[in-house]
Each structure stands twice: as structure tokens, then as C-alpha cells.
Amino acid sequence: MKKLLISILLANLLAACASQKPVEPEAAAPEPAPVVEAPAPAPAPAPMVEVDPLDDPNSLLAKRSTYYPFDVSAVQDADKPIVQAHAKYLSEHPDRKVRLEGNCDERGSNEYNLGLGNRRANGVKQMLLLGGARASQIETVSYGEEKPRCTDHNEACWKQNRRTDIRY
């Protein structure tokens, strides 16, 4: 979170003081961006600062959840580009790690849902591996129905709970 804030601050500063030139969100800094004091007005073109694309709110990488129909664990077509974007990012950033957290709605037994959440997280893991991520970068966990985002007994609520969260 701290890193995200710093990066956003940097991006804003650059946008304000340098030019309208969009910041290229490609190659990321191998190390955390250094904390910089407010830069003195620079006559020269701004130094190239690379922003971690994970922090770009307009990137697909800003999406960190996949959603599922009832009792389904396969990644849905609508969410595949998201998972593929994370796979590409992980393959390009071997130092980064993710934790995949599978969740379910309450319409099963707690134990069955623990299994289903595991299967959802594993489905995302397989797609990340196919996209070039390494197994050592990925941890999976299932919360089953134990950590609902929403607790009403209706589909509007349930569909929010049927999800895998991708946490860096």
C-alpha cells in the first residue's frame, strides 16, 4: 500500500511538472522506487521513472478478482484476460508473489465449499502457470464460505462471494 501511494505520488508529480507525456507503464523498476523529495524545477527533460504497472488503475492488473457461476470453478471467459495479464506480469517479475484466495457462496456445506474454493484458486493458478508464472510465485488458499464479502441470502450477495482474489 505504501509503495502504491509513493508510486501514485511520483506519477502525479511527473505529470504535473514535466510534460503531458504519458508515463509508460511497461518495464517496472527492479527495486522499490526511491522516495524522492519534491524535485527542483528541472530544465532538462524529466528523468525516466518507471511505474509498476500493477499500480496503474487503468491496467487490467488493477482487477484482482475472478467471479463464478454457482458451483463452478473454471475461470470464466470474461475474466480470462485479467488472469492472463497477471500471468504476463508475474512471468516478467519473477520476484513478485501472489496469494490466490478462493471463496464461495453459502449454498453448500462448509467443508464442500472449502473444497470448491480450493478448486477455484487452483483454476486461476493453472492459468497463471500456463501464462508463464512460476509455481514458486503462487500460493493458494481456500476460505470456503467462511469469509463472505456480503452476508444476505440472495443472488446479488452470493455472486460477490463466489470469487478468487489475487493478492500480491
Binding site: N110, E111, L114, Y143
Partner: protein, 420 residues
């Protein structure tokens, strides 16, 4: 304190039991086919106790749905010689319990009671029960057990205990209580989920699932010393502990080889052996009373259904068919069938199925009814339900006639399991 409302329409009785220091409230709906009319005379000397033995005995017997209380107003025999049988016959009593209690110099209480047959004018049973001064409930439960056994022929379960999980927001407590919900003790309290408590056959330990390390792991905890140890904490999930009847091993579910599969493990964590190989979700194992078989659920056929396999491993046989999905199977104490959660058309029911006939019988009206478990005598089934937007504990008699709902003080009661 005790209010009985008789429904005008018929045999439906709604009973509400509560006390001033209520930890919970209990509602009873329905009645057994033949209720035994019994008079429980106030125990001599019980006025000195924090709560009376009579009130514990009466509420135990009423909760079973098998008894009807006869008014004792104006009659207070303490000894069989004082009993005027014609008076009790006139009031319609068939059985009569009398007794007295004394607080001894060391603070212990000693209760003596006799159960009399009013029709035959004979003594059916007599017993002295001694306990520490804080255990009036335990004394009452013991007496209620003896009355229940003498008059119904089945063992009483009023002295047994239950375990469940109480959830309040993000806070979880693993609770052990008397079977009536009173006398609750917190075994574990934390801000991470707790699931699937399972009693060791001797009632000395609970196995359960905890998320305190960030993922599901299985612990075994002693209820005497409160000491616990990690049974299984492998990567992925470790869950669904079930004890074998001899207590020498458990079946658990792990995902360390991919999907949820069933493994056997010794209580010290050694000798792990995988026994299902479906690659699908296999979970919720439950040993048969003879230890020879496991019931479990699997979605290998497309939807979650109940299967049975030899406990030492082998091929599985599907037990449930038809519309809907099925979860959380548990053998009946006599091993002839199983109780489970049945989901159909968006509702969850408690259902019973016989191995021989394969017939399924619904015991409840449906709603959010999950995770049934039998009382040791096989006459009552406890399950998780919901009422007034709260998770509650509920029981239903195995013939479906008598139901009760127990509202805990606060939060949602989940994952109940009846202990020895």
C-alpha cells in the same frame, strides 16, 4: 418463568423456557405420539440452591417431547411412605418423582430421589447423586436421564454435551455446552474462522479446523488440560476431521496432492495414508459405528452426493440419487442408516436415509438447515438452522415429530455436533 401455550387447533405445543440470567432461550414445537404424564415434586431442601433440581429435570423431560407435566400443587411427599397414590391417580399421573437434596459441610450437594409407578403403586428406581455445589444442573440432568431411561426404555442424553462455533462479525468462538445449551465454555476464541469440531469417542478431545495461520489446518485439543497440538498443517487446506470409533485414527481431508481428498492419520499426526483418488472433491468423511465403512461426499458424479467406501480404502458406492445435492452424512448410532443435509430448489433440509431401503425421509420443513448429528441414543438430531436472521441450534426427534430451537445469547451458532 415457564410458559406453556397450547395451540387450539391440535397437538402443537409451543413451549418457551427462559430464566432471568438467560444465556439462551429454547422453543419446543410438536409432541411425541404418546406423552407420559409425570409429576415431579419439588425436591425437599432445594430452596437453598441457586436453581432448583426440579426445574432442570422438568425442562429436560419437556424438551424430549415425550412427557407431560402433572400439577403438584398442594402435594409434597418426600418419602414413598408419604405418597397417597389415589391423589396422583386422580390428577392423571402415571409416574411420580420425589426426593430431597442436602448441602453437606464440604459444600457438596447430595440428592436422593425415587421414581414411582402411580398405576402399579411400586417403586421403579431410586438413586443418590452427589456433586460439587456448582453442579446443580449436572445433578438434574442425571436424574432426568434415569427417569427417561426407566420410562421410555432408551438411554437419556441430558448429561451429554454439544460443541458448536459461535460467530459474531469476524470473531469466532469454539464452544462446548450441556446438550440443553447451558453451561457453555469457550474452548477457543479468535478473529479467524473455526470449522468442523469433532468429538473424540471418549469425549476428552475435540478436533477442529482453524484458519489462525492463514489457511485451514486441523488441531486436536484436550478439553481437560486445554492443551492442543497441530494434527495436520500441510500446504493448501486441512479439514473435515472425523474420529474412528476406537479413537485410534482420524479421517481428514487435505489438498496437498491437488484436490480435496480423504486421508487416514493417527491422532499424533503419524502414519498418513491417502484413501481416495478421485481427483474431484471428496470430503466430510464419517466412520460407521463398527469402524468398517466411511460415508463421505463427492462431486465425482457431477453434483455433491453421498458415497460409502471401506474405511481401509477401496471402491466407493454412491448412496444418494435423484434431484438436488447432498452433504454432511453421519451414520445413525445403530449403523442402519444416515442423516444428512439435502439441498433441493434452493432450500436445505435435514434428511434421513435407510441403507436397506434406500428411501430418503425429510425430517424438517426446509430452510437453512445444515450439518445434522445424532444424540448418542439415536433419538434426537441436532443441526444448524436459522431464525430471526440469526444462526441457531435446533433439534428434531428422529421420527420428525418434536422440534426445538435454541437461541444462543448473541451471534450466529454454527457447526453443531453432539458429543458423547
Amino acid at each position: 418463568m415457564l410458559r406453556v401455550i397450547k395451540n387450539i387447533v391440535g397437538a402443537v405445543i409451543l413451549l418457551h423456557v427462559s430464566t432471568a440470567s438467560a444465556e439462551l432461550s429454547i422453543e419446543i414445537i410438536g409432541a411425541g405420539e404418546n406423552q407420559i404424564p409425570i409429576a415431579i415434586v419439588p425436591f425437599g431442601g432445594e430452596g437453598k440452591l441457586a436453581l432448583t433440581i426440579k426445574e432442570v429435570v422438568v425442562s429436560d423431560l419437556l424438551r424430549s417431547g415425550l412427557f407431560r407435566m402433572i400439577d403438584t400443587e398442594g402435594l409434597s411427599p418426600r418419602d414413598p411412605a408419604d405418597v397417597s397414590y389415589p391423589d396422583w391417580q386422580a390428577r392423571g399421573a402415571e409416574a411420580l418423582a420425589i426426593g430431597s437434596v442436602a448441602v453437606q459441610p464440604n459444600g457438596r450437594i447430595e440428592a436422593r430421589f425415587r421414581l414411582l409407578d402411580v398405576v402399579k403403586q411400586t417403586e421403579l428406581a431410586g438413586q443418590a447423586v452427589s456433586a460439587s455445589g456448582s453442579q446443580v444442573r449436572a445433578v438434574g440432568h442425571r436424574i432426568a436421564d434415569l427417569i427417561y431411561e426407566k420410562l421410555t426404555g432408551d438411554k437419556g442424553v441430558f448429561s451429554t454435551r454439544i460443541a458448536y462455533v459461535n460467530r459474531e462479525g469476524q470473531h469466532f468462538r469454539l464452544v462446548v455446552a450441556d446438550s440443553d445449551g447451558y453451561n457453555e465454555q469457550t474452548v477457543l476464541s479468535q478473529n479467524q474462522p473455526i470449522m468442523s469440531p469433532a468429538w473424540s469417542p471418549d469425549g476428552s478431545h475435540l478436533a477442529y479446523v482453524s484458519f489462525e495461520t492463514g489457511h485451514a489446518v486441523v488441531y486436536i485439543q484436550s478439553l481437560y488440560t486445554n492443551q492442543r497440538k497441530l494434527l495436520a498443517g500441510y500446504s493448501g487446506t486441512n479439514s473435515a476431521p472425523a474420529w474412528s470409533p476406537d479413537g485410534k485414527q482420524l479421517a481428514i481431508v487435505m489438498t496437498r496432492d491437488g484436490s480435496s481428498q480423504i486421508y487416514l492419520i493417527r491422532p499424533d499426526g503419524s502414519d498418513i495414508r491417502r484413501i481416495t483418488f478421485s481427483g474431484e472433491i471428496d470430503t466430510e468423511p464419517n466412520f460407521s459405528p463398527d469402524g468398517q465403512y466411511l460415508l463421505f461426499i463427492s462431486d465425482r458424479g457431477g453434483s455433491p452426493q453421498i458415497y460409502r467406501m471401506p474405511a481401509k480404502g477401496g471402491s466407493a458406492e454412491r448412496m444418494t440419487f435423484g434431484e438436488g445435492a447432498n452433504f454432511s452424512p453421519r451414520h445413525t448410532p445403530d449403523g442402519k442408516g444416515f442423516v444428512f443435509t439435502h439441498r433441493v430448489s434452493g432450500k436445505f433440509y435435514i434428511a434421513l436415509q435407510d441403507f436397506q431401503t434406500g428411501q430418503m425421509e425429510l425430517l424438517t420443513e426446509g430452510g437453512w438447515e445444515k450439518k445434522p448429528s445424532f444424540a448418542p441414543n439415536g433419538k434426537l438430531i441436532m443441526f444448524a438452522s436459522e431464525a430471526r436472521e440469526r444462526g441457531i441450534l435446533a433439534t428434531v426427534s428422529s421420527d420428525g415429530r418434536v422440534k426445538q430451537r435454541m437461541f444462543t445469547r448473541s451471534g450466529d451458532a454454527r457447526e453443531p455436533v453432539w458429543g458423547p
